[in-house]
Structures are given as C-alpha cells and as structure tokens.
C-alpha cells in the first residue's frame, strides 16, 4: 500500500477507538516517556490526537506521525490509568501496522523479521552459531550479574552492558517434552519464549524443575516460534501473523489445562494481543487463537493460583529481595501478588519493596535500541529505586526487564543479582 486513500481508509477503521479519548490528559501522570520529556507527542493523548488528525486530513505528514507514534514503550501505563477506558496499546499496535504498511518496513527489519525470526529453525541455528563467537568481541563486565560489554559492537549497541547468548539454549538441553500429569492432576504446555530459551535458559530450567517437583505434566513441543510482539511493534503484521500461525500449529498437537510462559511480555501478547489482532485470519484460525489465548497464564500466577501453594515463614537471616513489577504483568494482566508469593516460597528470601515497583524499566523491546538514551534515563530511575532498598537480589517475572535491569545495574557497577521469581523458588527445592 502506498496510496493515501488506503491509509485514510485503514485509519478510519480505528476511528471508533480514537474518538473515545476525551483529551482529559490524565495519561500525563503515568507515561514514563512524558515524565522525561514533557512533550505532548510522547503521551497517549498526543499520539491519539495525531492519529485522528491524520485520519481526518488535518495532519498531512504520515512520516512525522509514525515517528511520534513509535516513541512509545508499549508499557500500557496510559491504558491502565485511563478514565474513559481508551485501549491505548491496541490502538498503537494497529496504528504501527497501518503506518508501516504505508511507509514500508525498513530493510534491516525486513531482514530480521522476514528472513530470520519467522523461520524458527534458521533463527535457532544462526544464534547458536553466534553464541560460539560472541566471546571474541566482548569482555566480562560484572560477575554477579553475568553481564559483558563490547568495544567492537559499540557503534550498534552503545555503552550498554549485555547479557550474552547462553552457551546452550534451553531447546538444546530439552528439545521437547510430553509428560503425563502427576500428583497435581494437571498438565500444562510450556512456552519459554525467545529470551528464556536463548539468553536465560536457567529460567526455563527452573520452571521445569518446579513443575516436575509438583507433579505437573508438561507438553513442550519443538519448533516453537517467537510470540510475535517484536514484529508487530515494528508494524510488520505479515511476519507477526506467520509467527502466530506457527505457534498455533505446534500447540494444536497437545492436550493441556494451561499454557505457561515465564515471560510477562509473551504472556500478555498471547493472552491480550493475539485475540484483538486476529481479524485478518480465517474463522477457524480465529477460534483456535481464542481457545489457545484463553489458556495462556503467567507461570507465577499458575504456581500460586492453581497449585495453591502458600509461603512458609521466612528465616530470621533471610536475604532481602526486591521485586520489580513488569508492565506486561501488572498493568496488562493484573498479576503482582503472585510473583512475590512465589519467591516467598523459599524461606531463605524475604521481600523488601522498592519505591514505584510498577514503574516501567524503560526496555520496551526494540525501543531500548532505537531510543537508547531515553531508555537508559528511565532505566536509571529504576536502578536507583532498586539500589535504595539495599536488597542483594532483584526479582521480576519478565526476561526482557531482566535484560534492561541487568544492563542498568551493571553500568552502575552494582553487585545486585537479577533473577526470575521461579529461579528463587527452584533454588530451594
């Protein structure tokens, strides 16, 4: 699509959602980016006004609007705080797809999404190849966090402190699983997600250990694809649809009570975004999406709500762990008590709350690459809040937040380890 008429028609379909914004501006109180810049185009009200302006031909610069609309972490803070219930995330994802269809996808992203991400086998092989050589270009930065930095990659990655690809990704150690329900009587499907597979396989192993310990059967098929959010947030609906279909196909082969992921972003994508973005699919596919989405559950919520575990009393010499609430867990899914309960299942730990635990860490997926300075400024506030608790460990149910927070702590030379709540529970088993 490159003609303006088609762009206007597609934006017109968003009109019913756009018009529900009454311009009250309450989103200014919670938007992490607006908090940094004080600019109206950075907050949901400004972005919605621009999209409406474009749709009604009051604004004639789609490139300018696209530039503004993508300066967004997709954290959902605006949506969670909106008095009139405007579905900001939904609007911005659809708008990105519409604007990208009009403007075209940049070549680099085309290469990444269409050439690699949508081909899970190739994606795995390429990264496994890369993991063997990454040591040549990087030097260790912080042994507690396990981060590295790279002079060689500085032009692309800036001064960030990276978490390297794991030597052995989860899918190499555990290619697939199909075990029956044990004493719990429950069987789940397990979707580790890209980051828990390739960078934090220790999180995937921890989940499997916990499930095994409680007699939960696991269906973990080979050939799982990315949940699709990186492609969708770049407006590449075509690649996104391919990824959703690939996942529908592999999970159709199993029978299970719930589909668990240890990643807040994957969970909220599969549970909230898949159904709202399924309009282009066949009725049968839409039904399959609805059925699978309904079963998706955060792994912390499963352990507490479905296994019904209750935390013991913490030891007197318990280690303080502070908890970060990932946006896609608390604001999108309303899950915030369960991760705290999960880590309290290990009596060697006790929770020490930080200020503004539900403030965004500033990652926002590729936002951290495209808007590195802003992302780091938002991340620094999170780091300061973590540091102020004096806790030795920070826990969070989202590997994407783990990446960002590891980077921020490591850059500051802090000796605070970054863990998933399931790792902490699994340690004690």
């Amino acid at each position: 699509m490159s003609d303006m008429k088609e762009l206007l028609r597609m934006l017109g379909e968003l009109d019913d959602q756009l018009v529900s914004c009454m311009r009250c501006g309450m989103c200014q109180a919670v938007c992490p980016i607006y908090g940094q810049t004080g600019r109206e185009t950075d907050v949901a009200r400004g972005k919605i006004a621009l999209l409406e302006g474009l749709a009604h031909e009051m604004v004639k610069d789609p490139a300018g609007v696209q530039d503004k609309v993508t300066r967004c972490l997709l954290c959902g803070s605006c949506q969670a705080n909106c008095p009139s219930g405007v579905k900001g995330l939904d609007i911005f994802l659809k708008a990105r797809a519409i604007l990208t269809a009009y403007m075209g996808l940049p070549t680099v992203k085309k290469l990444i999404f269409r050439g690699m991400l949508t081909k899970p086998g190739l994606f795995n092989n390429l990264l496994s190849f890369a993991s063997k050589f990454q040591g040549l270009f990087t030097t260790p930065a912080n042994d507690i966090i396990g981060s590295s930095c790279s002079k060689f990659l500085e032009p692309v990655l800036g001064d960030r402190h990276l978490m390297l690809l794991a030597k052995t990704p989860l899918h190499k150690d555990v290619p697939s699983l199909d075990t029956p329900a044990g004493k719990s009587g429950l069987k789940v499907a397990f979707f580790p997600g890209c980051l828990a597979d390739k960078i934090f396989p220790r999180v995937g192993h921890a989940v499997l250990k916990v499930l095994n310990h409680h007699g939960v059967g696991v269906f973990m098929p080979a050939g799982q694809a990315c949940c699709g959010i990186p492609a969708l947030s770049s407006g590449d609906k075509e690649s996104y649809d391919k990824l959703v279909r690939a996942n529908l196909a592999v999970f159709a082969k199993g029978k299970f009570d719930a589909l668990l992921t240890p990643c807040a972003t994957c969970t909220s994508t599969m549970k909230k975004i898949w159904p709202t973005m399924a309009q282009g699919m066949s009725p049968a596919e839409q039904e399959a999406v609805r059925e699978l989405s309904a079963k998706v559950m955060d792994v912390n919520a499963f352990v507490i709500d479905k296994l019904g575990l209750t935390p013991p009393k913490a030891n007197d010499d318990a280690i303080a762990v502070t908890v970060h609430d990932p946006c896609h867990l608390k604001k999108s899914l309303g899950v915030s008590a369960q991760p705290r309960a999960v880590l309290s299942l290990n009596p060697r730990y006790k929770v020490a709350e930080m200020a503004a635990s539900d403030a965004c860490c500033g990652c926002g997926g590729s936002f951290t690459l495209t808007h590195a300075d802003m992302s780091a400024r938002i991340g620094q506030q999170k780091r300061d809040n973590i540091k102020n608790t004096g806790a030795q460990v920070v826990a969070m149910g989202c590997p994407a937040c783990m990446l960002q927070i590891s980077d921020m702590l490591s850059r500051n030379g802090d000796r605070v380890s970054v863990k998933h709540p399931m790792e902490i529970y699994a340690e004690g088993l």
């Binding site: 529900s20 009454m22 009250c24 501006g25 185009t41 604004v59 610069d61 300018g64 219930g85």
Partner: protein, 459 residues
C-alpha cells in the same frame, strides 16, 4: 514562521525547546474541551523563568499571540491557540522554590503539578486544600489562571482563597510583583486578585505564593441514600442550617448511580434517586459530634439508608464511587460534555428538575453529579460529536442549561472557566458595561492583544 524569527526563539530557549513540525504543533492545538483544534505557528518550552520573560517580550515585539499552556486539561478551550501564534509551555518550570513551615506559605513556579505539590506539602505536615479533578496532572499556574475548584470547595474554598501573591510578566517581559508572604497586605492594587481566573489574558505568571494550613486531624465519611432528589437537596440545606460545614458534600443522580454501579460494582442502590456523599473533618471530638448530627439530619429528612464508614477502608469505598463517576459516564459514549453551571445551593432541586426537562426536550442522555454543598453541579451530556444532528441538539441543550442556571441566580461556570466555550454567554450573566470595562482593561495592559486573545471577553 520565518527562519530568522524562529532562530530568535531558539537563541532564547535552546533549539531543542522550539517545536515547529506539523505533528508537534498539532499536539498543542487542543485541550480537554470539546472544540475544534487550532494549530499554533510555534511551540516553545522555556526552562528558566528568565527565558520565559524574554519569550513574552519577543512575542509582543512581533505581535505574536501567546497561549500559555501547563498540562492542557482546560475544559473551556482556554489553552486552544485560537488565533495561532506561539504556545508557551510551562511544564519545564516545575520547581517548588520554598515551603515555609513557620509562616505557612509556599512559593512555586507555574508548572508545578498540583498533586505533587500537595504531596510535598503533606510530607511537611501541612495542607494545601484545593483539589481539582485533574490534580494528578494539572499545574498550579493553570489552577490560578482558571481559579480551579474541587471537592473541598464548600469548607476550604477554591484556589483564589490560597493565592497570596503572583509575580508575572507584562507584555514587555517586565516583572510585575503583587501580594506578599504575609497574611495581611494592602500594598498597592490587588493585582494578584486580578491575575486569579484571568485565563492568561492579562499577564504571564513567573512565580506564585500560596497559603498553606495545618491539616485536619480526623475525618469521617458517610453515604446517604434518597428516593427523591428534593429530599437530598433539602438535607444539604438542613446540614448547613445546623451550622455544620462538611469538607465535602457530593451528589449523584440516578443515572450516574446506575452507570457507576454498572462500571465499578461498588454496591450502590440502583433504584435510589439521589446519593449524598458527606465527609466531615477537623478535631476528632468535633468530627464525632458533627458526624452524629449529620446522620440524624439525614434520617430526619427521609434518607432511606445511611452508611457511615467505620475505618479508612470503608471511607475509601465511599469515595471510590464518587471518583468513578466521570470515568463511568465517559465510557457510555464517545463524547463526554462536562458542564459546570452553578446555582445557589438552595436551587439544586429546581436545577435538577430543569435538567430532566432539557434532557427529554432534546432527547439527550444527561448524567448529573457534583458538588451539592456549593451548588456546583456537573451535568454531563453523553453524545457522539460525529453525529452532526445530535450535536446540534447538544449545543441547544447547553444554551438552555446556561439560561436556567442564570434564571436561578447562578453562574455560567463554577470552576472550569469561560475560555472560548462560554464567552458568548458572558453578557447574559453580567452586562454590556462589564464586557466593555474588561475589554478596556485588557486593551490598556495588552495594546497589541497578544495575551490569549479572544478568551473570556471575546474581542
């Protein structure tokens, strides 16, 4: 705008604080009023008060209209740059310059967020009472320019009751000082009073001195349920007649009750015709005594049921319903027109009756809630501005609402301001002489007519 002039602005505030792209300008073309957007030519965001003054002078030297904008939450179009020109953002001027605990005042820059200020004051054990609905994002400069109200108006008054002084720039960028840090001050004309509610038409605020008070030590909230609007409003009158002034005395009509219940499931009685939400505060002994009396008065006046909050959690539950009112109404339809015509509190039954008539005459949905204690109701029209035919009926209904409010001895606006939306009704409430006097005043202070032109008094 031509390159040379833009560069002059860049020299004053820095390149990064001057915005000229279409998408940037469009995002400062509107506020929270249901009005058409108008694009400014330029948007500037001074980071120092000194730069703010220079920007004002540069605008005046070049005859450029100025619209000063804090968080853009205005409900009457006061921050829409209706004549184009320059939008000046104050949100980078957000320092609390002083909180003086001995002399009970604070000095702030105009871009300080109301709720952040109130929290900072509370952390020092003091109290800043004005609490407009938008306080989580609104700026103190905007509050003063609009003379913002809030839920606590009945007992604690509104923003004007807390303004001790305003230092502001005249159109030449010179600082005019007014007011004082002392409780008493009769030095010179009351220019601070002139600035309050002037909606950016007479000067640009540089810093504001605000009065603080000790906080009440205790509070008690209750909900009274009525089968008749008249009974609820007679209860309001009876409470005041008993020499009790509650901190808040809020009202909800049946439509609002049903909508809130649908949305928030707060356990409200959906068949009730009216609800009063009442909170008394002060010394614990006085609170206990007044709460008892208020409860007795409600019973006497025929309340069907009274729920008194026993603890903080229950108190919170009472207010949860009120806080949900606008959200719940806003979700019913795409466009929400929130009016604030205000009548003497004894006229609330007549006003409610008239609103019912207007809703049926124009076949519109109107939910009404608001500050019963001070007669400041919020009839909220639920509509869709894309439906042209219905929108005409909405406009006619708004005309009628103002006519009724004025005929009952009320006023056009309790707390939202006149801006663009209500300037055409001004003469109905005041007089031709009032408009002309105001225009002469403005002409003398702002000969080129650059300060938020067209607002309040037209031109």
């Amino acid at each position: 705008m031509n390159d040379a002039l833009r560069k002059d602005f860049e020299a004053l505030v820095g390149k990064e604080n001057v915005m000229e792209s279409e998408s940037d300008r469009f995002s400062y073309a509107y506020d929270a009023a249901v009005l058409d957007p108008v694009l400014p030519s330029l948007v500037v965001r001074p980071e120092t008060r000194e730069a703010l003054g220079k920007v004002v002078k540069l605008c005046n030297d070049n005859g450029l209209p100025i619209t000063v904008r804090g968080s853009g939450t205005n409900l009457s179009g006061g921050t829409i740059p209706s004549k184009g020109g320059v939008v000046i953002l104050t949100n980078a001027l957000n320092k609390i310059l002083e909180i003086n605990e001995a002399d009970l005042y604070a000095v702030v820059e105009p871009g300080v967020i109301t709720a952040k200020f109130a929290a900072e004051v509370a952390a020092r054990g003091l109290f800043y009472p004005p609490d407009p609905g938008s306080q989580a994002v609104s700026t103190l400069g905007g509050n003063v320019a609009e003379n913002a109200g809030g839920l606590r108006g009945l007992k604690y008054g509104v923003t004007k009751d807390y303004v001790m002084g305003v230092d502001f720039f005249d159109v030449d960028g010179e600082i005019v000082k007014s007011g004082s840090r002392t409780v008493k001050c009769v030095t010179g004309l009351n220019l601070a009073g002139l600035m309050v509610g002037s909606e950016g038409t007479l000067g640009v605020f540089e810093k504001i001195t605000l009065k603080l008070t000790p906080p009440p030590l205790a509070a008690k909230a209750m909900m009274a349920i009525f089968d008749d609007v008249a009974k609820a409003s007679e209860t309001v009158a009876a409470i005041i007649a008993a020499k009790i002034v509650p901190a808040t005395l809020e009202f909800m009509d049946n439509f609002t009750i049903r909508t809130v219940e649908d949305f928030a499931k707060a356990g409200l009685p959906v068949d009730a015709q009216a609800l009063l939400l009442i909170e008394v505060d002060g010394h614990p002994g006085q609170v206990a005594d007044e709460a008892e009396k208020v409860e007795a008065i409600c019973k006497q006046q025929g309340a069907l049921r009274i729920q008194v909050a026993k603890d903080a959690a229950e108190r919170n539950k009472v207010w949860e319903a009120r806080r949900a009112a606008l959200s719940a109404l806003a979700r019913v339809s795409p466009t929400t027109v929130l009016e604030d015509a205000t009548v003497p509190r004894s006229k609330i039954p007549a006003m409610m009756h008239a609103l019912g008539g207007i809703a049926s005459k124009y076949k519109l949905t109107i939910g009404t809630f608001g500050h019963a204690g001070d007669g400041n109701l919020h009839p909220t029209i639920l509509t869709d501005r894309r439906n042209k035919e219905e929108w005409h009926r909405v406009e006619a209904a708004i005309d009628d609402i103002f006519d009724v409010a004025l005929s009952l001895g009320g006023t056009l606006s309790g707390e939202h301001g006149i801006g663009m939306a209500k300037s055409k009704y001004m003469e109905k409430e005041t007089s031709r002489a009032t408009i002309l006097y105001s225009r002469r005043l403005k002409k003398a202070l702002d000969p080129k007519g650059i300060l938020n032109p067209g607002k309040i008094i037209g031109e």
